[in-house]
Symmetry: C2
């Protein structure tokens, strides 16, 4: 509307995973709208807090959103590759910044998918020494291209033993149940493993030994706040970072869904919404 | 020996849980000898790294120890009550300091035993708002005397619901397997639950939901470094804090052990080693 001063027609803008929040709890006031005490209004699969209508996210042709929740996409960034920055980008950026990844720190990333490939790019650009943990031997070349300095096969005992006590921060992007006990001893004293992908009960039992004997932490994190999303976009603009995407037509969505289930995507599908008009 | 400059005959000194460490790894250099990469030499049930003799801890009549691992006990502190500061005191002090408990912060303590009663005293003296989680209704009066401002029965759903999202730091002193899932939602956004008492596999499965949806952490911690042990003793000297102890004769050790198994001790047994001469 005409009251919006921060943007003008023709600007490249983006909307992330949230369109609104209570904007008055302490989390919101600190810029952590993703942890809103009244739960943020998510862009998809949620109910708008004003008109009680469902939110359809990236399948929408049009969206109405408070300008506070609109992000400016820096000039020069490819828009197709920038779109996933608003989800996979901020989800990995927020913990990298919160736990202070940067020059002199050693960061490991578990899993090379939509989140993992962004974590490699961002951690590398922040100046950290970056390692990928993967179960798939074939991912080494891609991992190095995306920013990993080292690749560790998590199924190889010798390789796992060689990185005991090494990482200040582990970014765990695995979206299904998995055992953390293999990874915790690879943290330094005071190190943190942060879960981004899995929301549910962990298996196996978590052993407290590496936590107690090394003041290590297991933490979680979800997307990021609006201010830090803009910070991430500006950083990506400066460093020329986008997501590796495959652009698909809306008509191919079922095929893409099946390929996603087989982990056959490098590394994010982006739907060209212009294709909707062809139906 | 005569090369010791920091102490003179007649000083009141103490030795904690460690008598030595490698003193050259990064943990030792940072004053975190408890996390020594080569594992510290513990005062009890360990093997001395020089003469390869076993260490007998508090059952020793004499002890030989590098002056670096000797602590000065402040004048005016009752020695019987000061003895457990070197274990229960530092074990609770270290995480309170590391996670910055103090004025304006809300700290909860799980369990009122040897560690728990020290956590209440120290957190209170540091200026925090202090809550005890307990399963025993009868502990309220003692908890308040020891420094708790609030007591929450962890078996009472209504009481637990009333403290959701409240605590910046939870000091978990429970020494047996227990379920953390009840406690994690009582942490604030960015809050940490730190395990001090239980070393092993946690039950039940840890749910990642409160971690991911609130950037909360589960961490561990063991005793504390030498420098922070001295800091804790000096703080206790200034605030007149000691452990609540029952002094026993060495001849009563088996009876004390049985009472300890029944949690029938308030809150630490201290052995009067002079009684050893009577055998």
């Amino acid at each position: 509307g005409k009251d919006v001063k921060r943007f003008k027609p023709g600007d490249h803008v983006g909307v992330g995973c949230m369109v609104d929040s209570c904007q008055k709890c302490s989390a919101c006031e600190e810029g952590h709208e993703q942890y809103c005490a009244e739960i943020a209004t998510f862009t998809y699969n949620h109910v708008d807090r004003h008109d009680k209508m469902p939110t359809y996210g990236g399948y929408s042709e049009k969206i109405v959103v408070s300008d506070k929740f609109v992000l400016k996409v820096p000039d020069g960034l490819d828009l197709k590759g920038a779109a996933p920055l608003l989800c996979a980008g901020i989800t990995t950026w927020s913990p990298l910044r919160h736990w202070k990844a940067g020059k002199g720190s050693k960061v490991a990333v578990i899993g090379l998918g939509g989140l993992g490939h962004m974590a490699l790019k961002l951690a590398n650009a922040l100046g950290a020494d970056v390692t990928l943990f993967t179960r798939s031997a074939g991912k080494e070349q891609d991992a190095r291209r995306l920013g990993a300095h080292n690749v560790v096969l998590s199924t190889n005992k010798g390789q796992m033993a060689s990185v005991q006590g090494r990482f200040d921060l582990i970014i765990d992007t695995v979206p299904y149940v998995h055992d953390l006990n293999h990874y915790l001893p690879t943290l330094t004293i005071n190190g943190t493993l942060v879960l981004l992908g899995y929301v549910g009960d962990l298996e196996s039992m978590l052993s407290t030994v590496p936590l107690v004997m090394g003041r290590r932490s297991v933490a979680g994190s979800v997307i990021g706040g609006i201010a830090e999303t803009q910070e991430m976009l500006d950083f990506c603009g400066k460093h020329g970072i986008t997501s590796d995407v495959e652009v698909i037509k809306i008509q191919d969505i079922n095929k893409a869904y099946e390929r996603m289930l087989k982990s056959d995507v490098k590394y994010r599908f982006v739907i060209d919404m212009a294709s909707l008009k062809a139906t």
